[in-house]
């Protein structure tokens, strides 16, 4: 029996077997009833959900025959879930993409090339912040329209640092290097306080009983290190790839990265940062808020976490420290892409175009959560922050600084490379392997995947 016959037979038999149930045996899972269409849309950030819900409502008002259903899945599972849905042939029509992860879907033929539609509808790509559109293009095919952008900075507890005699002025000019940690390490040491109230520079400091850690480092940070090690390594002269985007050779074996990781490990050994093996399910931002840490690296998409009125502690932002190769922040954008297998290509495109339009991006800006990709909408978001009395200029400064930013790595198989590099870095931080050895081996594996 050929597989096809077998399937038909199976279908018939099982329908027979299941007649007692409420199950329908038709194979239609079309959600188009009449001319109504539902577009499934996925994103990962719960903070951004309300803004995009606004967009969906506005969109539905303008297009009463199209409803947008938004699903948010936390970052740690977003890509895995997406892959399962793709494999099931049941992916969302439109989803938010990140630059390291999207190439796998493009390579698998799962993303719709938007270039013809952009040409047809004359979408003005010059209206977006520079550098945000090109990442989504490969071999002349365009796999997404820019959605937002972000840069990185330090966030710190002003009360705690003031108590240790560190003021905002000092924090704006921090230096860092992997050998003695520069002025940053001194500030971190001062900000670390043990249960008896001694700070990290006190000879009697008890690193086994720390009340507040000077620095909270992020170790579940994939192959990018956007929230810490990547920025520091870049300011030490490290580059991820021979060429970005679409490099074919990773450089995780660069000693400049190993030095950076070794410095982070040294912070833990000194008792200035919490050990990785005592981490809880809480994110660093929550620990910072709970007063268990004084400072961390954060991205512009988290601003509101620290500035919302409910927060009891007082926080401020400072630029990342200047390293041997200057001050470097990751500049990253996300985009909205259309699934190649969507049954509602035109409607999905309408929604993506709307997401990238001033109307929606202004709505998103209004919430003051992220910086939208459109220049005009970015200005609007800044105005919202200013109106709320929030000083967020370090993020826009970082974006504007000459040679002050770098792009996150974009290659084939990013989804698979991410855990490999993350594992290597974690094992180095845990002291299970030397940074050099762990990164060398991870780099070989990563390069096997981009060959």
């Amino acid at each position: 029996m050929s597989p096809r016959h077998l399937r038909t037979g199976a279908a018939a038999l099982l329908c027979l077997a299941a007649t007692t149930t409420l199950v329908s045996c038709g194979s239609s899972d079309d959600d188009t009833a009449g001319s109504r269409t539902t577009i499934d849309y996925w994103l990962w950030d719960d903070l951004q959900l309300p803004g995009y819900q606004d967009c969906a409502t506005a969109f539905h008002r303008a297009n009463p025959d199209i409803t947008v259903k938004i699903t948010q899945t936390a970052w740690s599972q977003y890509w895995q879930n997406l892959t399962v849905e793709l494999v099931s042939g049941d992916a969302p029509d439109v989803w938010a993409n990140q630059s390291t992860y999207y190439p796998q879907y493009a390579a698998g033929g799962q993303l719709l090339d938007l270039q013809p539609l952009v040409d047809r509808d004359k979408v003005d790509l010059s209206a977006y912040q520079p550098g945000l559109t090109g990442v989504w293009v490969k071999d002349g095919k365009r796999y997404g329209l820019p959605k937002d952008w972000d840069t990185m900075a330090l966030v710190y507890n002003t009360t705690m640092l003031q108590k240790q005699g560190v003021d905002a002025g000092q924090l704006n000019d921090l230096t860092w290097n992997p050998s003695d940690g520069g002025t940053l390490e001194k500030v971190i040491a001062k900000a670390t306080v043990d249960t008896k109230g001694r700070n990290g520079l006190d000879p009697g400091f008890d690193k086994d009983h720390v009340k507040t850690y000077g620095f909270l480092a992020e170790w579940a940070d994939g192959s990018q290190g956007q929230n810490g090690w990547g920025d520091f390594a870049a300011s030490n002269g490290f580059t991820f790839l021979d060429k970005n985007p679409w490099g074919t050779h990773y450089q995780y074996d660069d000693p400049k990265l190993a030095e950076t990781i070794a410095w982070f490990k040294h912070l833990i050994d000194k008792g200035y940062a919490p050990p990785l093996d005592k981490k809880s399910a809480l994110a660093n931002s929550e620990l910072l808020m709970a007063g268990k840490g004084a400072m961390m690296v954060t991205g512009s998409w988290t601003i509101s976490t620290f500035t919302k009125p409910k927060v009891k502690q007082k926080f401020a932002f400072a630029p990342l420290p200047t390293g041997p190769a200057g001050r470097k922040s990751a500049l990253n954008g996300s985009s909205d892409a259309i699934w190649a297998g969507t049954k509602h290509k035109e409607q999905a495109w309408k929604w993506v175009k709307f997401l990238a339009s001033p109307e929606c991006q202004n709505l998103v800006a209004q919430r003051g959560i992220v910086f939208p990709a459109l220049k005009t909408a970015t200005r609007k978001a800044l105005a919202v922050h200013r109106a709320r009395g929030e000083d967020v200029h370090v993020f826009t400064d970082a974006a504007a600084a000459k040679d002050g930013t770098f792009l996150l790595p974009v290659t084939e198989n990013g989804t698979e490379i991410s855990p490999i590099v993350q594992d290597a870095i974690q094992s180095a931080i845990l002291g299970e392997a030397s940074p050099e050895a762990a990164l060398k081996s991870a780099n070989d594996k990563a390069n096997d995947l981009v060959k």
Partner: protein
């Protein structure tokens, strides 16, 4: 029911102490689950040690049952994603009920045929069927997923129950063994009365076999109730999402920075509730069925 020794000795006290500790360790996590579910999310930092919450609330149950607005849910520590645990509960009941009922019936039919009916090739067919015991589930999960997908049955109950309703080797084996043990006289009397094979099976053998059938049915219900991987692959959509899958998805839809513990514990408590009902209603039956068989 005989007790061996009744006199109080240090040994007996020690033995009872161990049993009581085992009970406490068994039950405490459930208590803590309910306690957390009754705690407002905002209190978790300040109020995570006491045995009773400072400000008990039902909000977490309400929001996992989908009875609050998005804003209320977010204010209570959730991500605001739509959840409806009542529906998932029903889906779980449908899923495990369908599998248990149909699988028991079909396996009883097969077991009866192997035990009583005469036909050429019986032992060979039985041997082949039992050999399926050797195939571990993970091995069939991958191709079965592809099969169900190709049939267009993803996210339907048909697709979700298809691989387990028709047969499972152990149940066939188990019920055949039981049918072999039934005295033949009863059936033979029925044959003389001119009752056909189906009539004998349905009206004579099945009623006599209530014990083993309930045993198989109950244990199958429990396993189906606990199933995760297969419904995760084939039934993630709202209309077929079972409790275990819903809990997994709910966990993933927590806010990025902080797991929604109070909501998760409320959802977990709801997944335990039916089990408790089952245990109270059928406790003796269930416990005794383990004297009877053991299944994995």
């Amino acid at each position: 029911m005989s007790r061996i020794r009744t006199k109080v000795s240090p040994g007996r006290i020690a033995a009872w102490t161990v049993l009581v500790i085992a009970l406490v360790v068994t039950v405490f996590p459930f208590y803590w689950m309910v306690r957390t579910a009754l705690t407002p999310a905002a209190d978790l930092y300040t109020d995570s040690t006491g045995l009773v919450p400072d400000h008990p609330t039902m909000i977490n149950f309400l929001r996992v049952l989908g009875l609050t607005s998005q804003e209320e849910a977010q204010a209570a520590g959730g991500s605001g994603a739509h959840v409806d645990f009542l529906r998932y509960l029903l889906n779980s009941v449908v899923y495990s009920g369908l599998i248990a009922a149909l699988q028991t019936l079909f396996c009883a039919m097969a077991g009866y045929a192997f035990a009583r009916l005469r036909f050429p090739g019986r032992d060979v067919v039985f041997g082949v069927l039992i050999a399926a015991l050797m195939v571990p589930p993970i091995f069939t999960v991958l191709p079965n997923f592809v099969l169900v997908k190709d049939l267009g049955w993803l996210n339907t109950f048909t697709g979700m129950v298809a691989p387990s309703v028709l047969m499972t080797p152990f149940a066939v084996f188990f019920l055949r063994q039981f049918f072999l043990s039934i005295p033949r006289d009863v059936e033979e009397a029925a044959v003389l009365d001119g009752v056909g094979a189906w009539g004998i099976f349905w009206r004579v053998v099945m009623p006599m076999s209530r014990g083993p059938l309930i045993t198989i049915g109950l244990t199958t219900t429990v396993w189906a109730w606990k199933d995760y991987l297969w419904p995760l692959l084939t039934g993630r959509e709202e209309q077929t999402r079972v409790l275990t899958v819903a809990l997994g998805i709910f966990q993933q839809q927590s806010p990025n920075t902080q797991p929604d513990w109070t909501g998760l514990m409320a959802g977990s408590a709801l997944s335990v509730l039916p089990v408790l009902v089952l245990l109270i209603a059928l406790g003796r039956r269930l416990v005794e069925s383990l004297n009877f068989t053991g299944m994995k």
